[in-house]
């Protein structure tokens, strides 16, 4: 049967091309793989190979013709022995590509809030729960130990996590309890061991990958984003990477530009990741346990300065904190201060100073940056009509920018002042003590921002 040969698309963007040259002439026998013609695309001159065998019956588009549309017939192939007149009878081809289906007109985010904020105000633990004092460091270790006891597929790997007992002593004692099979010292090879962890998660394990600091995770960010975050989607839900990437993030003290960056906003941008940035020891413990159990890749951003701070932690078995539920540290009616991680410390200090001047601030700790508890923020802003965000990261494309946009979209009529984003300064972190102090966000800057939005 005669078949028409159609003008091929030879690049992802080609719509038409020039039939530069025929390398076969009418009557020639053609085998699969033979070069039929040279075709100029929008990018290059390409050789066009025959797929089927037969005889080139008729050339419909002469060489040198430009503007030949993709899928226009350019020649007719005949079976061996078939008459050339069959060429004329070959049917006109149907257009192969259908018009693209309409897509939902409005882009929406997977965790877009409903119109009326409905904050979850349930307590994190029941009233009367016995409490114990713990540092963030101890809370993180206990969370890992408890989850490793609970699920034998959970293991910890990273630099100095085992024999050295952790560069920041977060994994102290874990090697003794769980052995070298489950607490694994890696060579200094972030890209490699992050990717190896992703493969282990694909293979059914629940890795905890510790980065000595998240600054070093930039070497591994391709594996975190392209492999861990996107595979569930790209596989149509067949397989994903249930794992935790954790370690200290942001500035410590006097370690300079390459060891002092806050990555919260970077990771929070990625669909497929969950992002946690705890402040207190109770949250560090409850959220890390949730992260280890979560069936998705979780970025768990700790803070070195907070490691040694003590907080009250509920002394109950199997204590977890859900993702996407903010915590209100301080009630107030005059302004909403939204923060997370060490920013909460600055916000609370600022709130104390403001109270002395008669300004009552409500301090919200987001705890997780993906998912975000928009409802708690919006409900508070609708009450106070003013908002200041506080974070350590850089100002451009910050989390504060995003929160401001959401507040503007959803609570514009409630605002009595523009939202102010307090952030780290737009400079690489300097080493000199006085300059470092200037680069970082301070409680006094938060106080100043609050006074601006309250017109004091």
């Amino acid at each position: 049967m005669a078949t028409k040969i159609l003008m091929p698309a030879l690049s992802p963007t080609m719509e038409e091309g020039t039939l530069a040259k025929w390398l076969k002439k009418e009557g020639d026998t053609v085998s699969s793989g033979d070069i039929l013609a040279e075709i100029e695309t929008d990018k290059a001159t390409m050789e066009f190979e025959a797929v089927d065998e037969g005889v080139l019956g008729k050339i419909l588009v002469a060489e040198g013709t430009s503007g030949v549309k993709v899928n226009d017939p350019i020649a007719v192939m005949l079976d061996e022995g078939e008459d050339a007149s069959a060429a004329d009878e070959a049917e006109a081809p149907k257009a192969a590509a259908e018009s693209p289906a309409s897509v939902p007109a409005q882009a929406k985010s997977a965790d877009e809030p409903a119109d009326i904020p409905r904050p979850d105000t349930s307590p994190d633990w029941p009233e009367g729960t016995p409490m114990k004092t713990q540092t963030v460091r101890e809370a993180l270790r206990d969370a890992m130990a408890e989850e490793m006891r609970r699920d034998e597929n959970v293991y910890l790997m990273g630099e100095e996590v085992a024999e050295y007992q952790g560069a920041y002593k977060i994994s102290q004692g874990l090697l003794d309890e769980f052995g070298a099979k489950r607490v694994i010292d890696t060579p200094i090879t972030e890209h490699g061991f992050a990717g190896l962890g992703v493969g282990a998660a694909f293979g059914g394990l629940r890795p905890i990958v510790e980065f000595m600091t998240f600054n070093f995770a930039m070497q591994a960010i391709d594996q975190i984003i392209n492999s861990a975050a996107k595979t569930l989607y790209m596989s149509g839900g067949q397989m994903g990477a249930p794992m935790v990437f954790r370690g200290p993030n942001g500035a410590a003290a006097r370690v300079g530009a390459q060891h002092s960056q806050d990555y919260g906003a970077w990771y929070a941008q990625i669909p497929g990741l969950k992002v946690v940035q705890p402040y207190s020891a109770a949250d560090a413990k409850g959220l890390l346990k949730t992260a280890i159990r979560d069936p998705n890749p979780v970025i768990f951003l700790e803070n070195e300065i907070l490691y040694g701070r003590s907080f009250e932690v509920p002394d109950i078995e199997d204590f977890t904190i859900p993702f996407g539920k903010a915590k209100i540290w301080r009630k107030g009616s005059d302004v909403t201060i939204v923060s997370w991680s060490i920013g909460v410390s600055h916000a609370l200090e600022a709130a104390e100073k403001l109270a002395k001047e008669g300004i009552e601030a409500e301090v919200i700790d987001l705890r997780t940056l993906r998912p975000i508890d928009y409802d708690t923020v919006l409900a508070s802003v609708m009450k106070t009509n003013r908002c200041v965000t506080v974070e350590e990261g850089f100002p451009v494309a910050s989390m504060g920018n995003h929160l401001s946009a959401v507040i503007m979209e959803r609570a514009f009529d409630y605002l009595d002042a523009p939202v102010i984003n307090c952030t780290g300064k737009d400079v690489p972190m300097p080493y000199a003590a006085n300059l470092e102090r200037l680069a970082l966000i301070t409680p006094d800057e938060v106080v100043e921002a609050v006074k601006k939005v309250t017109y004091r």
């Binding site: 699969s32 061991f193 694909f202 596989s235």
Partner: protein, 341 residues
């Protein structure tokens, strides 16, 4: 540890191979070639979009290595992945429907040519970033060692990826922890348009493991029996708990790097010569005929059967609907842990 040039086992292996096995390899390689030719045709018709990297010419690599695998073994590769999927038993219909971006594709149309997976067949992608699959493959092997079974992971990558830093990182860890992973370097001599000679002064990739203590050898990738023999040796090494093994398989791709590659970095004569003198399918075809294992008519019948399978897959891929619009918002997060293993 040793690095050996060339494979001594090819001719000997050929002597012992059964008619059934030879016929199976012929069939499996032909399926890949016909499937890829059809994919190229559908691309030309605009039914397949974006990037599409064909495996034509390299068929003996995956078919030979799959012949050395057992149930439970895993495989992972980069974006030139159609052949790997067909060789491990994935359904041509589901693969082709993914190429056309339809709901019956392996990833519901959301992955495309470069990003496809099958939990059932232990095929872990289909990865779009050159070299990223290498530590992932070592991680899959890590999971099997952790669980204490004797499964092996075949981690495929090209001569281009072999120069990526994470490959060196992975060699180091795989040998350090004795991971059961076969690193398969499919050396088709061109990393897109850059020949091996223009990319490295250390072109013998099978030797690259020496610094880490990993044995390796060079294999004729146009001889499916040589590939199988080398695969069996590598797999035995891994299953015995001796750690990773490197196979550098010398192969050749007949088509451009992707569909939009004019291939000006090599001559038409170079391609034609290998097609005529070294073709892996023709090699097995001659073994079948000269060994009187099959007649011309037998092989014609196989050709026809394969053509039918491929045409059915193309029809299926055209008929399958585009994914429902709601699919935009699914599979971003798992509600329950995926049962990966």
């Amino acid at each position: 540890m040793a690095a050996r040039k060339g494979s001594a086992s090819s001719a000997k292996a050929g002597a012992n191979v059964s008619a059934e096995e030879l016929t199976q390899y012929y069939r499996d390689m032909l399926l890949i070639r016909r499937f890829e030719e059809k994919a190229g045709q559908l691309y030309g018709m605009g039914l397949i979009g974006g990037f599409c990297h064909l495996y034509i010419g390299q068929e003996a690599v995956v078919v030979g290595l799959e012949a050395a695998a057992k149930e439970g073994d895993k495989r992972v590769t980069s974006y030139r992945d159609h052949g790997h999927m067909l060789a491990c038993g994935m359904d041509p219909k589901g693969v082709m429907a993914e190429l056309t971006g339809r709901e019956d594709g392996y990833s519901k149309g959301k992955g495309g040519s470069m990003h496809m997976f099958s939990k059932e067949k232990h095929f872990y992608g289909g990865h779009g970033i050159v070299g990223a699959q290498v530590p992932i493959g070592a991680g899959l092997a890590f999971s099997d060692k952790y669980k204490g079974n004797d499964n092996v992971t075949f981690t495929y990558f090209g001569d281009g990826a072999a120069n990526q830093g994470q490959v060196a990182e992975t060699y180091n860890m795989a040998q350090l922890w004795d991971l059961p992973v076969v690193f398969v370097i499919e050396n088709n001599q061109y990393a897109m348009g850059t020949s091996v000679q223009r990319a490295t002064k250390s072109p013998d990739f099978y030797e690259r493991g020496i610094a880490y203590g990993i044995s390796g050898e060079e294999v004729d990738g146009m001889d499916v029996l040589a590939v199988k023999a080398a695969g069996e040796k590598a797999v035995a090494h891994c299953r015995a708990g001796k750690g990773p093994y490197i196979l550098e398989i010398k192969t050749y791709r007949y088509r451009g790097h992707s569909m939009s590659d004019p291939a000006k970095y090599r001559t038409r004569e170079e391609v034609q010569k290998i097609r005529e003198e070294r073709d892996a399918i023709e090699h097995v075809r001659q073994l079948l005929l000269t060994g009187k294992h099959a007649t011309e008519d037998d092989l014609k019948a196989i050709d026809k059967e394969i053509k039918g399978i491929v045409n059915d897959s193309a029809e299926f891929a055209k008929e399958s609907p585009e994914p429902a619009l709601e699919e935009l918002w699914t599979d971003i997060y798992a509600d329950v842990a995926p049962q990966n293993a």
